[in-house]
């Protein structure tokens, strides 16, 4: 590949969620030539979050708006952004070489903030009916189910948050959870239990999603008795957890069994110049505020690394 196709940066950040945006702000303010690579939507998971109410200093804000504000702030300080999928990463002499669709990028320090993606149920009918009633984003799709009955699968914060949001449109929301108690925070549990439109089905799993052009019903199984049943529904909103977006990293960086990148307290991986922050790393608290903190830590560590490894 010709040199003209290679662009050089001091810091490249892969993933434009809160961790990446915070890292980008600090890297750019540190006068490093900094690039953010994002394959989809700026904000990552929070771009799909209706309300962020636990980011200190901001009582309540739409997640997409918060992400846009973070992005603008970082760009105002000099962060560059490209909307590209990363095809490959390799060490090139002392720098990192990143392959994208139409070229290559060289960087002194590389910060991985690729975040996490929702888990799917993995049941028959699910893939085929995505966008036809199966959804992983209530804030995107709930409005299409005005006056209808829908189900939400899961028992964590996301399930309750999105279930509560869905009650603005649907007449009835059934939350299906495989255990007999919720993992979600108390405040969300209190709100869900107090909501007349929300019902719970405990110790129950979805075994199949049935429908022609649209979702029509779910097949259910009680995890203790094994009893099977069906429930008519117009939509299935799935919030059962998430997995780190680390597949594109291949084998070269150490991860745990679920794919979370291993880092130290400074977000350093075992490889010099490679950092990981936010939901993609092991033991992330998976909050906007903690991811922002991670991103800042990684950017400061990257700054120190560049000063030491590239003193000229």
């Amino acid at each position: 590949m010709a040199d003209a196709d290679i662009t050089e940066f001091d810091v490249v950040i892969i993933g434009g969620g809160p961790a990446g945006l915070a890292a980008g702000l600090y890297a750019a303010r540190g006068r490093h030539r900094s690039l953010l690579l994002e394959k989809g939507v700026i904000g990552g998971q929070i771009a799909l979050t209706e309300l962020v109410e636990n980011y200190p200093g901001i009582p309540s804000i739409n997640g997409f708006d918060l992400a846009q504000a973070m992005h603008k702030q970082a760009e105002d300080h000099g962060l560059e952004t490209r909307y590209e999928d990363v095809v490959g990463i390799e060490k090139s002499d002392r720098k990192w070489r990143i392959s994208i669709a139409d070229g290559e990028i060289l960087t002194k320090a590389l910060i991985l903030t690729a975040g996490a993606e929702y888990d799917k149920l993995g049941v028959p009918g699910e893939e085929r009916l995505i966008g036809k009633g199966v959804s992983y984003c209530a804030t995107c799709d709930a409005a299409f189910f005005k006056g209808q009955e829908v189900v939400v699968v899961g028992g964590g914060d996301a399930a309750l948050d999105e279930g509560l949001f869905t009650t603005r449109f649907a007449d009835k929301v059934t939350i299906i959870h495989r255990r007999d108690q919720l993992r979600a925070s108390r405040i969300l549990q209190d709100r869900a239990f107090a909501n007349d439109k929300i019902d719970f089905l405990w110790n129950t799993v979805v075994t199949e999603i049935v429908g022609g052009d649209q979702v029509e019903e779910v097949k259910l199984k009680h995890v203790e008795t094994g009893e099977e049943s069906t429930l008519s529904t117009a939509a299935v909103f799935v919030f059962i957890g998430q997995h780190p977006n680390s597949d594109f990293l291949g084998e070269f960086v150490e991860t745990d069994a679920r794919g979370h990148v291993l880092v130290d307290d400074w977000m350093k991986t075992e490889l010099p110049g490679l950092f990981a922050a936010g939901d993609v790393r092991q033991n992330s608290a998976r909050q906007v505020a903690s991811s922002v903190g991670d991103g800042v830590t990684a950017a400061i560590a990257a700054d120190h690394y560049i000063s030491d490894a590239f003193p000229d």
């Binding site: 939507v41 997409f64 999928d85 959804s135 804030t139 995107c140 189910f145």
Partner: protein, 108 residues
């Protein structure tokens, strides 16, 4: 005129079904964050395909009839029409290359 223009339930037949050029329709709503990310990409494509294809956006809150006629249950959804027939559909936010591929099916 590169910017996609609004289309309504009432104008659907004339603007989309009876169009002599391929049509890309961006189904969106004001409350949908990812839709705000798709809009600038659709605008860029509208510039690149100026004269070759028509670019429209339909607000699903105000135009329920068309949205339900095509079974739209998730936005953003991009649909491509040729000679009044849907030729492809892209659900959710996708990079520009994917939308281009989808639109090019109308020229195949």
């Amino acid at each position: 005129m590169a910017k996609p223009s609004d289309v309504t339930d009432g104008e659907w037949e004339a603007e989309v079904l009876n169009s002599d050029k391929p049509v890309l329709v961006d189904f969106w709503a004001p409350w949908c964050g990812p839709c705000r990310m798709v809009a600038p990409i659709v605008e860029e494509l509208a510039g690149e395909y100026e004269g070759k294809a028509k670019f429209l956006k339909l607000n699903t809150d105000d135009n329920i009839e068309t949205a339900s006629r095509y079974g739209i249950r998730s936005i953003p959804t991009i649909m491509v029409f040729n000679k009044g027939e849907p030729v492809d559909q892209v659900i959710g936010f996708r990079p520009k290359g994917d939308l281009k591929k989808s639109l090019d099916k109308a020229f195949a």
